[in-house]
Symmetry: C2
DNA sequence: CGAATGACAGATTTCAATATCTGTCATTCG
DNA sequence: CGAATGACAGATATTGAAATCTGTCATTCG
């Protein structure tokens, strides 16, 4: 964190993540971030108008990491839609479960941030739902799925699997039934989608 | 609340509900309950060993009211299983939404209690899932549903509709999309269940 | 001149003293 | 005699004064 480098939004975001990791969401202050960077807090306010804006930017970053990883699966037109949807849902569940399990405190921290940044989360969910819509639409085009409206079906699939990606349920992802429940949910939903 | 009546568990539960309604979950104390009844708090402890036990009893009562209302629909063998399942899910959603909308503070209070009483909630969920299992099993018997294991399918249906009954989502039940989302979810799940 | 500072007002958080609560039990009451 | 009480120890919650934080802006620095 050499104070010699120019102060950029990017460096501030990195420092903010570090402070959040160390202090948690409640105790992470703008002053802490400035301290970590060796600058005055006034300088941070030059790049982010408010603390909320800074938190939102950090949250967006974190959410985007998930979206990008899944986009590859959703966009892979070479594989059949049913497998792709199964893989996509499994990848989402696995990624969330891993994050929650590996570093529960950091996951909890970001869950709190997500709760604050309703707008950013809504956008993220829209992105993910859009990915599912693409898979469903491909399936309809290929004649393997039935759907009046792929966007509506995708939304239903995404919401119905909420238990396996919504942080509110993170506590249940460790329990033994989780995998069986997930398999049952996916099987039922895919039966519902099949032409 | 005449102090002349004998002190029964039932009277204590009624007083506790009243105190919870007035003070909310954080500020409702055993001393408050005793005060409301015009007795010493020691007397309350004669009927409930701990404050947690008292809260659990109140929570169970509240949860049971929901279960009973739905049991009638689940058990009505005269109607076809698909309609029954649709009605059951709609009744659950409507009941929850009405409670949350009519008296948001009381609903929030009971949601907090439910969060404390994980055991009681688990039992309640088992009861509800059992009701769905009955409907699914009837459907399989009648040849209108397909399911390897009605209990597993019922669990999947119940969990997949969590967004429409889990208090964690109460904030979204008012939003305009809720009804369309619910309809889409139920349609997709029923397509998945049909033989 | 634009980037960074730090003093400032008002809002929020922390902390320690104080008050209240939980759960027990020897005693009282009817 | 069984039901109810209230004093008590330890745990928890409330309170208000002091410390810290947020966001602004006139001033300094390079």
């Amino acid at each position: 964190m050499a104070a010699t480098e120019t102060l950029t939004a990017e460096r501030i975001l990195q420092a903010t993540e570090e402070v959040l990791r160390r202090h948690g969401p409640a105790k992470a202050t703008v002053v802490d971030v400035a301290r970590a960077l060796g600058v005055s807090h006034g300088s941070v306010y030059r790049h982010f108008r408010t603390k909320a804006a800074l938190r939102e930017a950090v949250t967006k970053r974190w959410l985007d990491r998930t979206s990008e990883a899944l986009d590859g699966i959703a966009g892979d037109g070479s594989r059949d839609p049913e497998t792709r949807l199964r893989d996509w849902l499994a990848a989402l569940f696995t990624a969330k479960r891993r994050k929650a399990g590996d570093d529960p405190e950091l996951f909890a921290t970001y869950s709190v941030l997500a709760g604050e940044q309703v707008g950013a989360v809504a956008e993220h969910i829209d992105e993910l739902t859009e990915q599912v819509t693409r898979i469903v639409a491909d399936g309809v085009a290929a004649g393997v799925f039935h759907s009046e409206d792929p966007a509506v079906s995708a939304r239903a699939v995404f919401q119905a699997t909420g238990r396996f990606h919504d942080p509110a349920y993170a506590g249940e992802w460790d329990r033994g039934e989780a995998d069986a429940d997930f398999a049952a949910a996916v099987d039922l939903l895919l039966r519902g989608l099949r032409a």
